[in-house]
């Protein structure tokens, strides 16, 4: 399948890319890993007149901890997240997420910035970053601003990015002692979108009480969802089979799935319940606790 014609730019500075973006506006699309955009262009579901390839801009591919945050450059490839020792040791929920995106070949090109900016509710990083209460950095010609991930996904395939802004960085708060997280994706086969995905991050204090819980849901609504009620319910409670079961039920009620070839509404809602139970249990184990 051949995409429609377009004009191609490969800027080598962020400034140049932003200037092009301001000039061409909504007629232009940014090309990052291209693993969603190119298939959409081949199917002619996306028909940008101008393609701005940001892959030749140096300094957007990095991964380091600084000032209490893990900073991830928007051009960081999923394969690099998956293999990073830092991510594996300190942010295993991010490793869980990266390793179930697409397939190993796709992950060599796909980027975390693209996964977010594309805003497909079936993409996996959003749920995890919602659970982690991460923020993103949007850069424009006038400067940078940070946007909490909880405010980033405004509608179906729509984000809070302005047409002339580029998502340049993801910031994840470094986990406090007693924290653990897990992402679990139910998929028909490798490379498919999630039927349902659930991310859970918990922090347990010295007495075993849940100080904080974050729960994000993949592909059960027009946007990635944060299960607020389930999170609030767990705060201040001891995590055991009963409280986890009740939180999972609240998460299932927060889901707004649609019936499609991957399952009925009732099935998907119930899978949210099952996966939330499993994700919370694994998160608790990683936080150093266990389910009584």
């Amino acid at each position: 399948m051949i995409p429609p014609q377009f004009a191609y730019f490969a800027p080598t500075t962020l400034q140049e890319a932003l200037t092009l973006l301001r000039h061409y506006g909504s007629e232009a699309k940014l090309l990052s890993g291209g693993q969603s955009l190119i298939p959409l262009m081949k199917l002619r579901l996306a028909t940008p007149a101008y393609l701005i390839d940001i892959n030749r801009i140096p300094g957007l591919d990095y991964l380091h901890e600084r000032n209490g945050f893990l900073h991830i450059g928007a051009l960081t490839r999923e394969a690099d997240l998956e293999r990073s020792e830092l991510v594996r040791a300190q942010y295993p929920i991010v490793c869980d997420t990266a390793r179930v995106i697409g397939d190993p070949l796709v992950r060599n090109l796909a980027t975390i910035g693209g996964n977010l900016a594309h805003a497909d509710p079936a993409n996996d990083h959003p749920a995890t970053l919602l659970a982690l209460e991460a923020e993103v950095v949007a850069t424009g010609l006038e400067g940078e601003r940070t946007i909490p991930v909880a405010e980033f996904f405004t509608d179906f395939f729509t984000t809070a990015l302005r047409p002339d802004e580029i998502l340049t960085e993801i910031r994840i708060p470094a986990p406090q002692a007693g924290s653990g997280g897990a992402y679990i994706k139910l998929e028909r086969k490798v490379g498919d979108f999630a039927i349902v995905g659930v991310a859970a991050q918990v922090t347990i204090d010295a007495t075993g009480i849940c100080a904080r819980a974050g729960i994000g849901l993949t592909n059960v609504g027009p946007t990635p969802l944060k299960a607020h009620q389930a999170e609030t319910f767990l705060q201040g409670k001891r995590l055991h089979q009963d409280s986890i079961t009740q939180a999972a039920q609240l998460a299932a009620e927060a889901a707004r799935p649609e019936a499609d070839l991957r399952g009925s509404i009732a099935y998907k809602r119930d899978m949210v319940r099952v996966l939330t139970t499993r994700a919370l249990t694994r998160a608790l184990e990683r936080a150093g606790g266990h389910v009584a």
């Binding site: 399948m1 693993q35 393609l51 697409g102 397939d103 070949l105 796709v106 060599n108 490798v190 490379g191």
Partner: protein
């Protein structure tokens, strides 16, 4: 629509061409360079028949524009054999019957080759994980796994090891047309 002049090193040889931005890299390889060993299977980023190595990493060449490969180093299935000698990964597919119809084989070879570059002794699970983006509808994967294991063993015993194209001298073969 403006075209772009690109220069890509393919199997150690510098190739230049004038391309439309929308030309997919797999079409550049097959139609411009006439390297038809790389197959087009699903054309939808699923099957991996079009897998090639871009700067040493296996990627799906149906999901990359040729302009994106400008200045990069590419290895295709045609580059595995050296001086009439099959690479151990190719020999493995022969010895272990790692193919039936053969359509997925170029992609399987490239993914298997890339795996062995950074993992000299992969377990069955690691092999299956590595090839999970390459679909085979004939073999049931059993003999493909054996073929990769055969190659790993052969390389460990000192057969011709993984090649490093970045280290090879670059020849120029002028413009492709």
């Amino acid at each position: 629509m403006a075209t772009h002049r690109i220069r890509v090193t393919v199997n150690g040889i510098a190739r230049e061409a004038e391309v439309e931005p929308r030309l997919l890299f797999v079409h550049f390889l097959r139609d411009v360079l006439r390297l038809t060993g790389t197959h087009i299977g699903c054309d939808t980023t699923h099957c991996g028949a079009c897998t090639v190595l871009l700067d040493g990493k296996p990627i799906k060449s149906c999901t990359l524009f040729a302009v994106q490969a400008d200045g990069r180093n590419v290895l295709t299935v045609e580059g595995l054999e050296q001086n009439g000698q099959l690479h151990p990964i190719q020999e493995g597919f022969w010895q272990e019957h790692g193919l039936q119809c053969g359509f997925c084989t170029p992609g399987m070879l490239m993914t298997g080759y890339a795996l062995l570059q950074h993992n000299a002794a992969p377990t069955e699970e690691e092999i299956r994980w590595a090839i999970s983006g390459n679909l085979c509808r004939c073999t049931g994967y059993v003999n493909i796994v054996k073929a990769v294991q055969y190659a790993a063993e052969k390389i460990r015993q000192g057969g011709s090891g993984p090649l490093n194209w970045a280290a090879l001298p670059t020849q120029s073969q002028g413009e492709a047309s």
